[in-house]
């Protein structure tokens, strides 16, 4: 597995590129295109936010076509709450891209990320599309990964190769996200796009995506703010030439593991690049009644501003963990609870444990493990600290 894929470990038949269309005032890259030589089976999951950006409805409709060829993505504008005009703009982006690629509009997906409620600068987009299409290349993934960023400080890519039915299958993905990250994908502005040359059925693709997202993109939170544009898309073009993957086979497990690894690496990269963050934090709840309860409690801690501020201060203030758990509401008994920070127990058997090391949390990684002793439920959430820079970035972003 590599986190900076090159052409050698990209899936066969995929091309990409990223340019500046001047949507961003900064002049940074803001328009990306992904293209598959062969038609793809595609599955996607979108934000659970009731307010959804215009491109999401275009994706939902076009995914029904069953043969996806491309995906155009802009950063710098979310195209959300932009009314009927915004919906037309998203459709136009698909149509113009299709025209430039010589395919049908319903074979193109669209995604956007940026500020909510501003009209899309469609003249700039229209002018940029032919040049964008002309620069597609297998080596273009790096530029594309750049072009989808907003407040991110580095591009996020991951890829894995596995053997399926005797053929090498490659799964590669790109993602963006640094703020407004608390994805609950049912089916952040977080964007994740995963491409594979596996030959795989639509049903299996959907099931593998759901399972992978649950433990990756749906297990991260930066600021507990769910975006209107969160989108994860998984496209499979079949060009690896593997035989059909049978349910429950070794190949199925290998393919699922590959997609999970790519999704988890991208999701963790988003948390590492969290706006203003100085720490990468894992909150693991064990011994809950079930995984659902473990997940709710792990998020209650990971979303607590006071916990996140204490982490910024490298302070092992486990009282804030306890307060967050108690506020999340199940009938917890703190007599059975234990809390460990970076491997040291700080609360156990109903009592505080004296700290031996005051510098326990000085490093850039924190692992908080909460054990409840009421069942077998487990869940692990990835988050970041709440810092001065997070507030600066989100108060002074104009």
């Amino acid at each position: 597995m590599s986190s900076s894929p090159n052409a050698a470990i990209l899936p066969s038949g995929f091309f990409a590129c990223g340019i500046s269309a001047r949507i961003k005032k900064s002049g940074k890259k803001d328009l990306a295109l992904f293209y598959s030589h062969a038609p793809c089976v595609g599955r996607a999951m979108f934000t659970a936010n009731r307010i959804q950006a215009a491109p999401i409805s275009v994706c939902r409709r076009h995914l029904r076509s069953g043969a996806i060829r491309g995906l155009i993505v802009n950063s710098g504008n979310a195209n959300c709450m932009t009314g009927k005009k915004g919906e037309q703009d998203a459709r136009d982006m698909a149509a113009w891209t299709a025209q430039a690629l010589g395919v049908r509009p319903q074979e193109i997906l669209v995604a956007s990320t940026g500020i909510i409620g501003k009209p899309m600068p469609m003249q700039k987009v229209r002018r940029a599309i032919p040049g964008l299409a002309a620069s597609l290349a297998p080596q273009g993934f790096g530029d594309a990964a750049q072009a989808i960023l907003t407040t991110d400080t580095f591009p996020k890519m991951a890829s894995v190769a596995v053997r399926v039915g005797g053929r090498k299958v490659i799964v590669a993905g790109v993602a963006k996200g640094a703020g407004m990250i608390a994805p609950k994908l049912r089916s952040a502005t977080m964007l994740g796009f995963v491409f594979t040359d596996a030959a795989v059925s639509r049903a299996m693709l959907g099931e593998v995506l759901r399972e992978s997202v649950e433990e990756s993109f749906n297990a991260i939170t930066i600021d507990a703010c769910m975006s209107t544009n969160d989108t994860v898309i998984l496209l499979a073009n079949g060009m690896a030439g593997n035989p059909p993957i049978l349910n429950g086979s070794v190949g199925h497990r290998a393919f699922r593991a590959a997609v999970k690894m790519v999704c988890l690496e991208l999701a963790q990269a988003i948390v590492r690049d969290a706006e203003g963050a100085t720490k990468f934090i894992e909150v693991c709840v064990r011994g809950a009644r079930d995984n659902e309860e473990a997940k709710r409690l792990a998020f209650a801690v990971a979303d607590s501003n006071l916990f996140k501020c204490a982490m910024f201060g490298s302070d092992p203030n486990w009282g804030r963990i306890a307060a967050a758990l108690g506020a999340a509401g199940p009938d917890l008994s703190w007599e059975k609870m234990s809390i460990a920070l970076n491997g040291q127990k700080v609360f156990a058997a109903g009592r505080p444990v004296p700290l031996r090391r005051r510098d326990l949390l000085k490093g850039s990684r924190v692992e908080a493990v909460i054990t409840l002793g009421r069942g077998k439920g487990v869940f692990r959430v990835y988050t970041s600290d709440l810092t001065l820079d997070y507030v600066k970035i989100n108060a002074d972003y104009n």
Copy 2:
């Protein structure tokens, strides 16, 4: 109504004082005592957090006695998650106070606020109680209001006089709270203590308290972090000498209005003193299906870090309001939604409204009114902005 009560507008028969017992390293006042000459009917509401501080269980038990004479409160230590020893400590605080006042232990209530998980410095408390009891005075409310503070920057007091059955009845209260404020009182660390000389039944006192808290202490949020120690206590000693208050009478309405005014003024003072805050923000949701939905949505906006950061930046970024509403989940239709900031519509009829004034939010007050157009539900939440100082206070508090 006055927000800095003096003896003239304090309820008859109540005495108070506040001193330093050296629980706080700073040497600031940290121990308060409230005393009533006549036995009080008392009702209280406590945090909905499942982790509850030791003093809360003492209060629950002693409130059953039906005749409360005093309330001892310390700041600087929450006496929470302190095990069996902490429970004994809270009982001892009541017992020692009772002894100093010549009353029974079950006539004394106890409250604590401060850091979670540290043992109470009981020797200091024991030494301080006799002197504390000796300094009780009607003019002592100001000192008591000081002694219950933690990160607060000013004491919070309010009082109201009304006529009930031909007699002047006074309702006066003190409160503290500046962080870990998202109270859900069923029955912050927010502490609110309200005293009245009204003669009122236990049942009516409970009902008036519940109603008042719902629109005051339960309508504020500073950081969405529910405390383990939140406590609101309402004590009535009957010394105004009013005739029994009949259900639904003019006197009932006057008394209820007085308690509501005192609770609301104290709750708003807590938000004005929010850790690091530069703005006092009201979020009002109208036209929801019912009040419960309006409340949920108003809190979703008020608890959004991104909304709160935008307010700190004086930026009318209503997209963050919309994202927070959509994340809260009901089947909203943004075509019917409108959003106004400080009286100016920024989103209406499915479309952004161009801003005439960029300095709309420059002042220290913000009112956000969201109209949903789907019913008659209304709720108003009071909150603060998320600032650099909030993070500093909560990362570097040692």
